[in-house]
């Protein structure tokens, strides 16, 4: 089975800092893969490189069998990659439903002229899009908040709205950037269940996360980064026991401060 996402020798430098170096890994279809590592390990950079928000210096990124390195974020979105952000990026002034509707952009075609004249085709398309979005909101338990102003929702709910927006893009790969950040324990448990349900529909998930409980709970595979390089990769239990992993998180025994 060909990997959905294949990264080879990825490298990126920012000024004097080598954020990511010689990084290679693959994400197979249908898995939930988590990327973990201490702060500064390069997780967010990796995400940005893969999803088109930053350009790699070296290496290749293959998505669905095609080389996509250098493509812009919106082009990758068009090819089936959807992502959420560490800092929630919802549009103020629009309702929950309208925010999620922006996710249907690539699946709808109404242009300037059709939009201005309210042509029948555009109205039909709009109705279908709305239904699709309401279905997804219901799937995430947000159906009755559809008309609320998105940025007025509680933090955990806003995260779900962003997730809904990513889901209606009908992606093949879902990138979640620290989805549990700012959530309390209950919300994190709910999130774990939600991600599991999403994955059960066949969607491949790659997530960056600090919350070890969530990561160990739902991931099929874990990739551990340290100083921009791969430290370990494998199943959760193996990672937990891996001495290299323990070392980069806890530091060398000798180096501990008195």
């Amino acid at each position: 089975m060909e990997p959905l996402l294949e990264v080879r020798d990825l490298g990126r430098r920012f000024g004097g800092l080598q954020a990511v170096a010689e990084l290679s890994f693959a994400v197979n279809p249908g898995v939930i893969k988590a990327v973990i590592g201490p702060n500064g390990a390069g997780k967010t950079t990796l995400f940005n490189l893969v999803s088109g928000y930053a350009l790699p210096d070296t290496g290749s990124v293959r998505f669905r069998g095609e080389e996509v390195r250098g493509l812009l974020a919106h082009e990758l979105a068009g090819r089936g990659m959807a992502r959420t952000f560490q800092q929630i990026q919802l549009v103020p002034g629009m309702s929950v439903l309208e925010n999620v509707l922006t996710g249907r952009h690539r699946h709808t075609r109404t242009g300037f002229l059709a939009g201005m004249l309210r042509l029948p085709g555009s109205l039909r398309e709009s109705r279908a899009a709305r239904e699709r979005c309401l279905e997804t909101l219901a799937f995430l338990g947000l159906a009755d908040l559809a008309d609320a102003e998105a940025v007025s929702l509680a933090y955990g709910q806003q995260r779900l709205v962003e997730l809904a927006r990513a889901l209606v893009c009908e992606p093949s790969l879902l990138l979640l950037d620290e989805p549990a950040a700012g959530l309390n324990m209950r919300e994190t448990e709910d999130l774990a269940g939600t991600i599991g349900r999403i994955n059960a529909t066949g969607l491949t998930v790659l997530l960056v996360e600090h919350d070890m409980g969530l990561v160990m709970n739902i991931s099929h595979e874990i990739l551990v980064l340290g100083a921009g390089r791969r430290v370990a990769e494998g199943e959760p239990r193996a990672i937990q026991r891996n001495p290299d992993v323990i070392r980069i998180y806890l530091g060398d025994e000798d180096a501990e401060s008195p």
Binding site: S51, E75, A77, G78, Q89, M94, T102, H105, G115, S126
Partner: protein, 363 residues
């Protein structure tokens, strides 16, 4: 946000107001009010396009007067430049055979052969749109102050060009512009007998534009623009081609401004370089700001009031001061505008004990 029902109410109310004002003005023999309201309507066309660009797409433009002037001047030039002595040129002969030329008596007893007003108008629109399309590319690679200054610079260059060039009449501008016939019996012209019909034509166009732009905002494109404004990262993440949309909405706003320029030029039978001035651009921005940035109706109402008063001379020599002051006051106290509702919301929350401590209001 705005539901179709609420929108229809406003448009219907506006249509009623337009008719009522006309009847009142005609009945009280103050038909010259209609002339000033007609000119205000054309200013509103520019403002509506700018509100879409600035309020919804979030892109500042301090140079809309430039596009207005391009529309007006190109139309004026083409309909007054005498091609008769140049009939031997291949291009002129071609135009003649394509029935794109027109001959009429000029103001001083002779006759002038010029491009037909319709052809001139369409060319002016197309030309302004093309300029906008070309300018948009480099301009939108800039951000913030640089973007605003670039649009300001564009407006100034257009102003200087029209002011300095003898082809465009220099400081006097172009006059003796003929009428633009829309339908048999309805022409855009400054003739006193046509005041009422021109009033309805102008405001009909405003209503149509308001309807079309409101539809656009509620549609897929409108959501994409607002997404771009709200968060470019998020917009990119859902596949919205940001640069392309910015360009398209910029061109749309420019085309509206140019259309207003063309029509006002025919209405006034001429145009002068002051239409391209920086103060004009600032006025358009001030009106959008006071109307509430992302608020077409607010911009329409406030724009009409302010422009009408300004045209009547109600502000006297304080005209620019009024617009500058309004701009300042709006930006300082209520960036969402008066009609936008944020001011009311904030006033209410100031007096309510429930919402102490929320500070999402400034900026």
């Amino acid at each position: 946000m705005a539901v179709a029902g609420r929108g229809f109410g406003f448009t219907a109310g506006l249509a009623v107001a337009v008719v009522a004002i006309q009847i009142a003005a005609s009945a009280s023999h103050k038909v010259f009010y209609l002339t000033q309201l007609t000119m205000s309507a054309y200013a509103i066309l520019v403002v509506l396009g700018l509100a879409l660009l600035m309020g919804y797409a979030g892109q500042a433009s301090m140079g809309q007067a430039g596009f207005f002037a391009i529309g007006g001047y190109v139309a004026a030039f083409l309909t007054t430049f005498n091609l008769a002595p140049r009939r031997d040129l291949l291009f002129v002969a071609f135009l003649e055979r394509a029935h794109l030329l027109m001959t009429r008596p000029d103001g001083s007893g002779g006759s002038v052969t010029h491009v037909h007003p319709w052809a001139a108008a369409l060319f002016a629109l197309g030309f302004a749109a093309a300029v906008a399309w070309i300018v948009a590319g480099p301009v939108f690679r800039l951000r913030g102050h640089y973007l605003a200054m670039a649009t300001l610079g564009f407006g100034i260059i257009v102003h200087r060009l029209f002011l300095g060039s003898p082809y465009f009449g220099g400081a006097d501008g172009i006059s003796d512009v003929p009428e633009l016939v829309l339908l048999p019996g309805l022409a855009i012209t400054g003739r006193a007998a046509a005041r009422v019909s021109n009033y309805y034509a102008a405001w009909g166009l405003v209503l149509l534009t308001l309807w079309m732009l409101s539809n656009l905002i509620e549609s897929r494109v409108g959501r994409a623009l607002r997404a771009i404004h709200g968060s470019e990262n998020a917009a990119a993440a859902v596949g919205i081609p940001i640069a392309r949309f910015k360009t398209q909405v910029f061109v749309l706003a420019a085309a509206l401004a140019a259309l207003a320029g063309v029509l006002l030029t025919h209405f006034n039978s001429g145009i002068g370089p002051s239409e391209a001035s920086v103060m004009k651009s600032v006025r358009y921005v001030a009106i959008v700001a006071v109307g509430g940035m992302a608020n077409l109706r607010g911009a329409l109402v406030m724009g009409t009031v302010l422009t009408f008063l300004s045209l009547r001379g109600s502000f006297g020599s304080f005209d620019d001061l009024v617009f500058g002051g309004i701009l300042l006051a709006m930006m300082l106290f209520s960036p969402e505008g008066i009609v936008g509702g944020d001011l009311w919301r904030r006033l209410r929350s100031t007096f309510s004990l429930k919402n102490r401590g929320d500070d999402g209001t400034a900026a």
